[in-house]
C-alpha cells in the first residue's frame, strides 16, 4: 500500500510541478464546448437538445489529449525498468498511475462539467451529471491507458493513439450521452448510467493487468 501511495503522490506532485494539466485540461474542455455554439449557432434550443452529446464528446477529446505521455516519460527515464526489478507487481504501479492520472486529468473535467452544462442550458441537477461523468471519465482513463501502452515504441504515436482509443470509447459515449438525454427528458435514466458503472466494475480490475502485460512486453 505504501508503494501504491508513493507512486500516487509522485505522479500528482510531478503534474503540479510540470505546469499542471489539472488547469489547462478544463480550459481545453471549455474551449471545445465554446466551439459548438460558434459552429452551430447561439440558438439555445438546439444547444440544449444536443448538450448531452456535446459534453460527452468534449470530455472524450479532452481525455484523449494527455494520454500519450502517460507511460512514455516513465519509459524514457527508466522508471519502468527499475519497477520491473522490484518485487512489487507492475499492475499495482499501473493502478496507482491510473488513479493519479484521473485525479489530475479526469477529476478537473468532472468539476467543471456542471458549469458547462448550465452554459449549454442542460437542465439536470449536478449530482445526476456527476453520476454519469465520474464513471465515464474513469473509463476513459482505464481504456485509454491500454492504447497509451500500445503505442509506446511506435512511430507517429499520437495520431495512432486517437485511432486506437476512440473506437474503444464508443460504448462510454453512447451510454453517457444516452443517460443524460433521458435525464433531460425527465425519464428514468438508471439503466444506461448503471451500464457505465458496470463497465467501470469490469474495467477496473482487468485493464491494469492488461496494461502491465503490455508494459512488460514493451520492455523486453
Amino acid at each position: 500500500m505504501n508503494y501504491f501511495a508513493a507512486i500516487l503522490r509522485r505522479d500528482i506532485k510531478m503534474d503540479f510541478r510540470h505546469g499542471g494539466q489539472f488547469l489547462f485540461l478544463p480550459a481545453f474542455f471549455l474551449l471545445i464546448v465554446t466551439l459548438f455554439p460558434l459552429g452551430l449557432g447561439a440558438d439555445p434550443e438546439p444547444l440544449r437538445k444536443t448538450a448531452p452529446g456535446l459534453l460527452m464528446i468534449a470530455a472524450l477529446l479532452a481525455s484523449l489529449l494527455p494520454l500519450e505521455k502517460l507511460y512514455a516519460d516513465d519509459l524514457k527515464d527508466g522508471t519502468i525498468d527499475l519497477l520491473l526489478l522490484s518485487p512489487q507487481p507492475l499492475s499495482l504501479y499501473v493502478a496507482a498511475k491510473t488513479l493519479a492520472h484521473w485525479m489530475v486529468a479526469g477529476l478537473p473535467l468532472v468539476i467543471v462539467v456542471p458549469a458547462l452544462a448550465a452554459m449549454l442550458g442542460l437542465a439536470i441537477p449536478p449530482t445526476h451529471i456527476l453520476a454519469v461523468f465520474v464513471p465515464a471519465t474513469i473509463l476513459f482513463v482505464l481504456v485509454g491507458q491500454i492504447a497509451a501502452a500500445l503505442i509506446l515504441n511506435a512511430r507517429r504515436g499520437s495520431v495512432l493513439l486517437a485511432l486506437l482509443a476512440v473506437p474503444l470509447y464508443i460504448p462510454v459515449l453512447i451510454f453517457g450521452s444516452g443517460a443524460l438525454d433521458l435525464m433531460q427528458a425527465g425519464l428514468p435514466a438508471k439503466g444506461p448510467a448503471l451500464f457505465l458503472w458496470a463497465g467501470l466494475a469490469f474495467a477496473l480490475p482487468v485493464t491494469p493487468l492488461v496494461t502491465a502485460k503490455l508494459l512488460r512486453m514493451q520492455m523486453d
Binding site: I151, N153, L163, L164, L168, P171, G178, K213, M217, Q218
Partner: protein, 242 residues
C-alpha cells in the same frame, strides 16, 4: 500446430492449400456469379437490385470471420509466441479491412435504390463502420514498429482488446439506435422471419464459399510475402552486424 511455426514446414503444407483453394475459389466464384447474376430470380420487391446481396452478405460474413480468426491468432501468439500467428495477423488485417469496405460500399450502393439513401445511421451499419476502424487501427499499429516482432505482439493485444470490446460496442450501438430512432428503415426482413428462398440461398452460400476460398488464397499469398520480408529483414541485419 507448433510444427508449423517453422516457415519451411508451413510452406510445404501451404503450397497444396494454395493450389486447392485457388481452384475452388475460381470454380465457386464462377458458378456463384452465374447463379447470382443470371440464374437466380429477381426479388419481388427489390427486383434486380437484390443481386447486390450476393456480394454484400458474403463480404459482411467474411469481415466478421476474419476478425474472429485474427483474435484466435492473437491469443495463440500471446500464449505460445507462435511466430506464424503474428505473421497471420499482419497478413489478414488489410484483407479484412478490404472485405469490410466492400461490405460498406456495396451496402451503400444497395441502400440508394432500395432505401433511397446512401447511408443511414442504423445500428448495423454503424457497427460495421466501427469494425472497419478497428481493422485500420490494427493495420496502423502493426506497421508503426521498427521491431516487427514487437509490432506483432502489440497488434495481437489490440486485437484481443478489440474482440472483448466488439460485443460491447455492438450492444451499445444497438441500444443507441433503438433509443434515438425507432425502426423505420431497419426492416432487414430479407434475412428474418420468412427466411430466404432456396433459389436465393444457394447462390448466396456458393458465393460465400467462393469468398472464403478467395480469402484463403489471398492470405496465403500475403503470408508468403510476410515470411519473405522477414527473411530480408534478418539478412539485412546480418549484413550490417557482419
Amino acid at each position: 500446430m507448433h510444427k508449423y511455426a517453422n516457415p519451411k514446414k508451413y510452406k510445404a503444407l501451404s503450397k497444396y492449400i494454395l493450389t486447392a483453394s485457388l481452384g475452388l475459389a475460381l470454380a465457386l466464384l464462377g458458378w456463384g456469379l452465374y447463379l447470382a447474376l443470371i440464374a437466380s430470380p429477381p426479388d419481388y420487391q427489390q427486383s434486380e437490385t437484390v443481386r447486390i446481396m450476393y456480394i454484400h452478405v458474403p463480404a459482411a460474413w467474411l469481415s466478421m470471420f476474419i476478425y474472429a480468426s485474427m483474435t484466435v491468432a492473437a491469443i495463440v501468439l500471446t500464449i505460445w509466441r507462435h511466430t506464424l500467428a503474428g505473421f497471420y495477423i499482419r497478413a489478414a488485417a488489410p484483407i479484412g479491412a478490404c472485405f469490410t469496405a466492400a461490405c460498406l460500399i456495396s451496402g451503400a450502393l444497395w441502400g440508394q435504390p432500395t432505401w433511397g439513401t446512401w447511408w443511414v445511421w442504423d445500428a448495423r451499419l454503424t457497427s460495421v463502420l466501427i469494425l472497419f476502424f478497428l481493422y485500420l487501427g490494427a493495420i496502423a499499429l502493426s506497421n508503426a514498429y521498427d521491431n516487427p516482432d514487437k509490432g506483432n505482439q502489440a497488434t495481437a493485444w489490440l486485437v484481443i482488446v478489440g474482440s472483448v470490446n466488439l460485443p460491447i460496442i455492438k450492444f451499445s450501438v444497438d441500444w443507441w439506435n433503438t433509443l434515438h430512432q425507432p425502426a423505420s428503415l431497419t426492416s432487414f426482413s430479407r434475412m428474418a422471419a420468412p427466411g430466404i428462398h432456396h433459389d436465393m440461398l444457394v447462390p448466396l452460400l456458393v458465393m460465400a464459399g467462393g469468398f472464403l476460398c478467395l480469402y484463403v488464397v489471398l492470405v496465403i499469398l500475403r503470408l508468403d510475402n510476410e515470411i519473405a520480408a522477414r527473411k530480408i529483414h534478418v539478412l539485412r541485419l546480418k549484413a550490417i552486424n557482419g
